[in-house]
């Protein structure tokens, strides 16, 4: 169950990452998804090293197979990240857009 307090507390983290750019370090495509993510499968998840050195994990949006290579440039965007649970809170988080 999503907690509104936890959502509020984590907002800063999301805001700090938005618009940052970086390059893909490693990648996979998730075909068997955990609870809440099944509707999106299959979806790629990539480990990205941002230009400031921070490493972040997230899904790729608007993707094609050619984007799933090491070194692919991406930008951090905000998206709904999984299907809302019975708390009704829409869970937003970060994903990556290929450049």
């Amino acid at each position: 169950m999503l907690s509104p307090i936890k959502v509020w507390r984590n907002q800063k983290y999301i805001r700090d990452l938005l618009g940052k750019q970086g390059a893909v370090v490693s990648h996979t495509v998730i075909r068997v998804a955990p609870v809440g993510f099944s509707a999106q499968a299959p979806y790629p998840v990539v480990l990205v090293k941002l230009d400031d050195g921070t490493k972040v994990l997230g899904q790729v949006v608007d993707w094609e197979d050619s984007h799933l290579i090491s070194g692919q440039r991406v930008e951090v965007v905000v998206r709904r990240i999984y299907t809302p649970d019975s708390s009704g809170i829409i869970p937003y988080g970060i994903k990556f857009k290929p450049l």
Binding site: V32, P34, V45, P91
Partner: protein, 390 residues
């Protein structure tokens, strides 16, 4: 003080829908105690290795739960460290005896997983990862896929080489009546199986299993009364970042190589002395990385060695320390024997104990005198290495 392993037992691993955890544990603990030659009331402490009883089963307080089930009122604890829970429970029990608190200890590793849907199990297992990892929608197969992808780019590791790990471990499992999988696999069958998290396919992944394992440990004076004691030569634990993201190098699990280095020093042995090893092959790539982290192969060389089946029973020559390759995962490993997460680390100890006693039947490694176990939690956040000797 030396710590001895007096007895142990492992249940059937697999989809055990007809039996509850409490009955399964009672049965296997009874066998382990009988094997130890001790009376049940000689047990002075109980350590339970388990990860998911709370998240999946809604049952916490497992120490008291199993003590009561056995009719004991001794100190009892649940030890949790994701898929390393079992190994950590063994380590903690050893410390309890070594510290002089208890003369004997019972360790139970247990997990009941097949009562739940695969999406529920996938989400619960992600409890071993970080919040950031969970929000990305990645699974454990996905985390190890990121490792596999890097290993492939850096060392040229191929999908066929990963498949060879599954083929070897299924062959071993076919010799182990307790194993989840009883039939051998071929490279082609692994390669044709459905993708789970690219490049990992269904047969690159260990299964979701139910199972229990138990061991009885005792201090030096009690252990010396046994005819064939197996001794704990080393027990070492190391930790690393919870999140894979924070690691400098994805192709090694630093916690595993740190724990191994400490364990080899404690035991006064080198990787060349190990005749048999049970390692944490939750995914095929994990065994390749483990071979390198444990020093059995140089970095980047394990995959081709495994593809030549150098670590398979029957392929390896009678033990020769100059050759320096152990038989790896004679039980079938997590891949073939199954992976009830909390039970795995304890099962590894029972397998090596039986190998060192010469009780492993068709899968007996000839002349096994020193064996090693390698149990990993999360994507390398915690690792436990034990070295046992006869």
């Amino acid at each position: 003080m030396q710590i001895g392993i007096l007895g142990g037992s492992v249940s059937q691993f697999g989809e055990l829908w007809q039996v509850s955890p409490r009955f399964l544990a009672r049965d296997i603990v009874g066998q382990a105690i009988a094997d130890s030659g001790l009376a049940l009331d000689a047990i002075e402490a109980i350590y339970v290795g388990n990860m998911l009883s709370g998240m999946l089963g809604g049952q916490e307080n497992l120490g008291a739960f199993f003590a009561a089930e056995l009719g004991l009122r001794c100190p009892a604890f649940k030890i949790e460290g994701a898929c390393a829970s079992g190994g950590l429970a063994v380590h903690t029990a050893i410390n309890g005896i070594r510290g002089g608190m208890y003369k004997t200890a019972l360790v139970i590793g247990i997990e009941k997983m097949t009562d739940y849907g695969s999406d529920e199990v996938a989400a619960a297992l992600m409890g071993a990862g970080s919040d950031e990892e969970r929000k990305s929608g990645i699974t454990f197969a996905g985390l190890y896929a990121l490792i596999a992808q890097q290993h492939r780019e850096k060392y040229g590791t191929t999908e066929q080489q990963m498949a060879a790990v599954a083929v070897k471990n299924h062959f071993h499992a076919s010799l182990n009546p307790k194993a989840h999988f009883q039939s051998p696999l071929t490279i082609e069958k692994v390669m044709r199986s459905a993708l789970v998290a690219d490049p990992l396919k269904l047969f690159d992944c260990s299964p979701v299993s139910d199972g229990v394992a138990a061991v009885v440990l005792a201090d030096e004076s009690m252990s010396k009364k046994r005819a064939k004691p197996v001794w704990v030569a080393a027990s070492a634990v190391a930790t690393d970042t919870l999140s894979l993201t924070a690691r400098h190098d994805l192709t090694t699990l630093q916690a595993a190589s740190d724990a191994a280095r400490v364990a080899y020093k404690q035991a006064g042995v080198t990787p060349n002395d190990i005749a048999v090893a049970e390692v944490h092959d939750c995914f095929t790539i994990a065994e390749i990385v483990a071979m390198e982290d444990l020093g059995f192969y140089e970095k980047g060389k394990a995959a081709s060695g495994i593809e030549r089946f150098e670590t398979m029973l029957g392929k390896r020559k009678p033990f020769d320390s100059a050759q320096g390759r152990p038989v790896v995962n004679p039980s079938g490993g997590l891949k073939g024997c199954g992976h009830p997460v909390g039970a795995t680390g304890v099962k590894q100890i029972v397998e090596i104990m039986q190998q060192l006693r010469g009780q492993s039947g068709k899968r007996q490694v000839p002349d096994a005198r020193i064996g090693l176990t390698h149990n990993v939690g999360g994507s390398g956040a915690v690792a436990v290495v034990h070295i046992l000797r006869s």
